[in-house]
C-alpha cells in the first residue's frame, strides 16, 4: 500500500507538470486549430532562463524572494517569447494551408532547441541544490518533498485561476467565442488578434512555470528536454480532449499517474510505448478525448 501511495505521489507531481504544459497546447489549438510544436521548447527555454536569473540574483535576494522573482521574470520573458513566436512563425501563415503552419511550428521548435544548445552548450546544466530547501515529509511510509508540495499546490492554483479566467471574465468569454468561430467573433466586435496574443501569453507563461518546476525538481536540464516533455504534454492534451481546458488538466494528471504505475510496476522502458497504446485506445473509444464532448465550450 505504501508503494502504491508513493507511486501515486510520484505520478501526481510529474502529472501536474504535464498538465501545466498541456494547457499551452490545448489553448493554442482551441483558438487557432494549430498544434504549437514549439511549445515544449519554450518550456525548456524557461528552465534555462530561470537558471540564469537565479544565478544572477542569488545572494542579492532572500530565498523566498529569489524564487518569486525568478518565477515572475521567467514567466514574463517566456510569454514575450511566445508572442514573438506567434508574430513571426504563425501569424504570417494564418491564411495559408494548415500544413504550412505545422511545418513552421516544427521549424520554430528546431530553432529554439538549437538556439539553446548554441547559447548554453550541449552538456546538461544544473540548478543549484539550494533553490528550494530540501525538506522531506514522511506520512506513513510515503515521502513527499517540499518541492513536490509546491508543485502540486501552485499547479492547482494556476489551473483553477485559468478556469475562472476563461469562464468568468470578458476576455475569457472572447477567447471561447474565437474558439467556436473566429469570423463570427470578429463580426461581433471582438479583437481576434488580441485574443490570440492573450492565448499565447497565458499558454507560454504556464509552460514557463512547468519548465521551472522541471529545473528545480529534477535540477538537471538539457537543451533537448523540451521534446520529451512537449510530447508527453501533447499526448496528455489529446487524451483529455484537445482544445478543452479541464481536459488538459485531467489528461496531464492521468498520464503522470499512468507513467508512474507503468514504470513502477512493469518497467520504465515500457512507459513511453504504453503511453502511445493508451493514446490509441482512447482515440478509438473516444476520438474526442475523455472530456471532448463539450464541443460548444471548446477553447
Amino acid at each position: 500500500m505504501d508503494i502504491f501511495l508513493q507511486q501515486l505521489v510520484n505520478g501526481l507531481t510529474i502529472g501536474s507538470i504535464y498538465a501545466l504544459v498541456a494547457l499551452g497546447y490545448t489553448m493554442v489549438y482551441g483558438v487557432l486549430k494549430l498544434i504549437n510544436f514549439a511549445h515544449g521548447d519554450l518550456v525548456a527555454l524557461s528552465a534555462y532562463i530561470g537558471l540564469v536569473i537565479m544565478m544572477q540574483l542569488a545572494g542579492a535576494l532572500s530565498p523566498v524572494l529569489l524564487i518569486i522573482t525568478t518565477f515572475i521574470a521567467t514567466m514574463i520573458i517566456i510569454a514575450t517569447a511566445g508572442v514573438i513566436l506567434e508574430r513571426t512563425a504563425y501569424r504570417p501563415l494564418r491564411k495559408a494551408p494548415r500544413l504550412s503552419a505545422v511545418v513552421s511550428a516544427l521549424g520554430a521548435s528546431l530553432v529554439i532547441e538549437n538556439g539553446i544548445m548554441l547559447i548554453w552548450g550541449p552538456m546538461p546544466r544544473i540548478f543549484p541544490a539550494s533553490a528550494v530547501p530540501n525538506a522531506n515529509y514522511n506520512i506513513g511510509n510515503v515521502y513527499i518533498s517540499l518541492m513536490q508540495v509546491l508543485v502540486l499546490i501552485i499547479s492547482f492554483v494556476l489551473m483553477v485561476a485559468l478556469y475562472f479566467f476563461v469562464n468568468r471574465t470578458k476576455l475569457g468569454t472572447a477567447m471561447r467565442a474565437c474558439a467556436i468561430d473566429q469570423d463570427a467573433a470578429r463580426l461581433m466586435g471582438i479583437d481576434v488578434n488580441r485574443v490570440i496574443v492573450t492565448t499565447f501569453v497565458i499558454g507560454s507563461a504556464l509552460g514557463a512555470v512547468g519548465g521551472l518546476f522541471i529545473g528545480m525538481y529534477y535540477r538537471g536540464i538539457h537543451f533537448n528536454m523540451g521534446w520529451i516533455y512537449g510530447l508527453n504534454a501533447f499526448v496528455a492534451a489529446i487524451i483529455g480532449g484537445i482544445g478543452n481546458i479541464p481536459g488538459a488538466m485531467l489528461g496531464g494528471i492521468l498520464l503522470g499517474i499512468f507513467n508512474a504505475f507503468i514504470s513502477g510496476y512493469l518497467s520504465s522502458s515500457w512507459a513511453l510505448a504504453l503511453t502511445y497504446v493508451l493514446l490509441i485506445v482512447i482515440m478509438i473509444i473516444r476520438p474526442t478525448g475523455i472530456l471532448g464532448e463539450r464541443v460548444a465550450e471548446k477553447v
Binding site: I3, A129, Y218
Partner: protein
C-alpha cells in the same frame, strides 16, 4: 629483428598528436619522452641510448595504419599507443607481422582477441571493473541485498551485467535488476519499486547525468540504501546534480593520476610536472607509459632487443612489476592482470576518499 642504427634503440609513439584527442596524444608523447630521458641519463639500456620516433595518427584508423608502417620502417622495437581502441586495433596486425611490440590503453575487448603475441594492453577493461566491484560489495561492504540498474547503452548494460554476474558467482544476493531510460530525469517510480525490495545498496552502471539524479531521488524517497556508481559516474557534475545527497555515495573507477598511492606514481608525476609545468592529461597517459616501462624492464632482464624474447618474458616471467598505475603482470593474450580500480566515498567535504583498493 629489423635493422637499427648503431648504438641506438628506437621506441615508437603512435598517438593522436592533433585532432579531437590531441591533449591525450601529446600527453602520451611527452610522458614517453620523459621516461626515455630518464633512462638515457642513466646510460640507456643494454649499453645503448634510446630514441623516440613519434607518428601522429590523428585518432583516425587510416592514419593509424600509415603510422604503423612508418614506425616499422623506422626500425622501432616497440610502439606505445595508440590512445583510442580504433587506432590501436588498426595498427595491431602491422606490428604483429613485423614483430614489433605494441602497448596501448585501449579498453575495447577485441584488442586482445586476435592472438597477437606482440600486443600488450595496460588499461583495465570493464570486466576488471566488474570483478573489483563485486569484491568491494561482498568483501568490504558485506551487502546482503543488492539492487543493480543500468541504462540501455551497450557500455552500461555490459558493465552492469558483468557486475551482477560477478556478484552472483561470488555468492552475493541480487534482489533486483532493472533499466532506466537515460535522460528521463524522473526515476522515482523505479526507485519506489526498488525500495519495496529493501536493498542495502543500489548499483548504477551508467552515466553521471542520470546517476546524480538517482542518488538525489533515492534520498528524497527516504531510502537508506547505499549508492555505488560505476566509472562513468566519476565526474564533478555528479556531485552538483546530487547536491547534499552526494555525501556518502560511492564511486568505482581507476584513480585520478594524483590519487595513485604508488611510489613510482609520485616520482613520475613530480618529474612530469617539473619538466612540462602541467599534469598528464589523464590516467590513460600513465597506462601507456607503464607499458613502456614494463617493456624496457623486460629488455634489461633478458639482455636483448629480440622482441620475441621480451614478449615471452612479459607473458611468463613478469610478476607484479611496480608500475605507476599499480603492479603489472600480463595474461597470455596480452591483457594486464589485476586491476587498478578503487572505490571512493564522497565525504561531507564533497571530495573523494579512497575506501577500498586491491593490493
Amino acid at each position: 629483428m629489423s635493422s637499427f642504427a648503431a648504438g641506438v634503440i628506437k621506441i615508437g609513439v603512435q598517438a593522436p598528436i592533433t585532432g579531437k584527442f590531441a591533449s591525450e596524444g601529446q600527453s602520451i608523447d611527452k610522458a614517453v619522452r620523459l621516461i626515455v630521458k630518464q633512462y638515457n641519463e642513466k646510460g640507456g639500456i643494454l649499453g645503448k641510448k634510446l630514441e623516440v620516433v613519434t607518428c601522429d595518427d590523428e585518432g583516425k584508423a587510416v592514419k593509424a595504419a600509415i603510422c604503423a608502417r612508418k614506425l616499422v620502417d623506422e626500425g622501432v622495437i616497440a610502439v606505445i599507443g595508440s590512445y583510442t581502441s580504433t587506432c590501436a586495433e588498426a595498427a595491431e596486425p602491422i606490428y604483429y607481422r613485423a614483430g614489433v611490440l605494441q602497448t596501448s590503453d585501449g579498453t575495447s575487448d577485441t584488442l586482445v582477441k586476435h592472438g597477437y603475441w606482440t600486443f600488450f594492453r595496460n588499461s583495465s577493461p570493464n570486466s576488471a571493473e566488474a570483478a573489483f566491484t563485486a569484491k568491494f560489495f561482498l568483501k568490504k561492504q558485506h551487502y546482503k541485498r543488492i539492487a543493480a540498474i543500468s541504462d540501455y547503452s551497450t557500455f552500461s548494460t555490459n558493465l552492469t551485467n558483468a557486475v551482477v554476474e560477478n556478484i552472483k558467482k561470488m555468492g552475493g544476493n541480487i534482489v533486483y535488476t532493472g533499466k532506466i531510460t537515460s535522460g528521463a530525469q524522473n526515476f522515482t517510480p523505479i526507485l519506489t519499486k526498488i525500495k519495496s525490495f529493501h536493498p542495502d545498496v543500489i548499483y548504477f552502471g551508467g552515466y553521471y547525468t542520470d546517476g546524480g539524479l538517482i542518488r538525489a531521488q533515492m534520498v528524497q524517497l527516504g531510502m537508506k540504501a547505499d549508492f555505488v556508481g560505476g566509472d562513468s559516474n566519476d565526474n564533478p557534475e555528479f556531485i552538483k546534480l546530487a547536491g547534499k545527497a552526494a555525501v556518502g555515495a560511492y564511486l568505482v573507477n581507476v584513480p585520478l593520476p594524483e590519487m595513485l598511492p604508488y611510489d613510482a606514481a609520485k616520482k613520475f608525476l613530480k618529474a612530469y610536472k617539473e619538466t612540462y609545468h602541467e599534469n598528464p592529461a589523464s590516467i590513460w597517459t600513465l597506462f601507456n607509459v607503464d607499458g613502456l616501462r614494463a617493456i624496457l624492464y623486460a629488455a634489461e632482464q633478458t639482455k636483448t632487443t629480440d622482441t620475441k624474447k621480451i614478449a615471452d618474458y612479459l607473458h611468463n616471467k613478469l610478476k607484479d612489476f611496480p608500475g605507476i598505475t599499480g603492479p603489472i603482470s600480463f595474461a597470455p593474450n596480452g591483457e594486464r592482470i589485476g586491476s587498478a580500480y578503487m572505490a571512493y566515498r564522497i565525504g561531507s567535504d564533497l571530495k573523494y576518499h579512497i575506501v577500498y583498493k586491491e593490493k
